[in-house]
């Protein structure tokens, strides 16, 4: 949604008669950018992520096997260096209380909490990682590179995510049933 302040500027400028076509185009683009900035930044960041994953070797099957067989530690170097760089960057963002560009609110460093089944889930995830030499972030990048195997991994990923949703929906449904049953007693 466009913020009212920007919308106001936009209208008054557009109504002025001596506005060139180029300026009008500029304001139109700005208008759309402010309306869809989170979606646009999401797509652009995704594209950057896919490009970097690919250039890091994370979309090449052999680097995964070579890392776990301790033949070539390319991916260990990648993840190690990136964590160190990100730790420094995050501490700077925290120190200067930087606000997020798309929302204007201070950056939220929300952390994932421990949840039931984390150990089982992480174990299953690792087996899947070894079987497919890919993870949820690299599969779409592999699709872009033309890797046919990624189509099947993607189908599996969606089925697995779906199965978890079915399980949770079923559990939630049972709980509400139990509760109503309890209340009737």
């Amino acid at each position: 949604m466009p913020t009212p302040e920007i919308d106001l500027n936009h209208k008054t400028e557009e109504n002025s008669p001596n506005l060139s076509r180029l300026q009008k185009m500029k304001f139109t683009i700005q208008h759309y950018y402010y309306s869809y900035r989170t979606n646009i930044s999401g797509i652009l960041l995704g594209a950057l992520f896919g490009f970097l994953m690919s250039h890091a070797g994370a979309t090449t099957y052999d680097y995964h096997a070579k890392m776990f067989l301790l033949i070539d530690l390319q991916l260990v170097k990648v993840i190690g260096t990136s964590i160190v760089v990100a730790i420094i960057g995050i501490s700077l963002l925290k120190k200067y209380k930087v606000r997020a560009i798309s929302t204007g609110v201070e950056v939220d460093f929300v952390k994932k909490k421990y949840q039931e089944g984390l150990i089982t889930g992480a174990f299953l995830f690792g087996v899947g990682w070894a079987m497919t030499a890919s993870c949820p972030g690299t599969v779409p990048a592999m699709l872009g590179e033309g890797k046919v195997g990624a189509i099947f991994t993607l189908i599996g990923l969606l089925l697995g995510t779906m199965a978890y949703g079915v399980l949770q929906t079923y559990n939630a449904h049972n709980k509400t049933l139990e509760r109503t049953h309890h209340n009737q007693d």
Binding site: D62, S102, T132, P136
Partner: protein, 162 residues
Amino acid sequence: MEIFVWSGWLAGLAIGLFVVLHFWLIGKPAGCSTGYGNVCGIMSRKLSYYHEGEYKNKYSVKLWFLIGIPLGGFLSSLSSTELWHLSFDMGMYDAILPQSIVAKAIWLIFGGILLGFGARLAGACTTGHALVGGAMLNPTSLFAAAIFFMSAFITTHLLFDI
């Protein structure tokens, strides 16, 4: 297709800067596997789990992020000396996986199911737990990442050594 790969240090530096850029632009940690939940929510109305809580907004930034990733993969493949083409070459894995295409596809679908189900059960994937969670020094994420690596380490050895 042979993709041009940077040195590990350079790629690590770039990905580290990417994590910080994501925080700065979006204001929230980056993640990949949650977007798949959004896709499931869009595909099925009956799955109420993917219509509530953190999945309430189905067209979230995480979904758009996921949509952007193939673009990056495509751009990266342009740096290859070969022309863009479809390929089912799996390198070292071709020697240990079943040889027929159908069996290979079933193997990958099964592996994908474990990735998708495991990521939801663990709360995040390699990006959310190991990369971003590790960078925030979150003990839960570091613990999950350690299990990811150990389990994949053992499985890879079982696949290649036997």
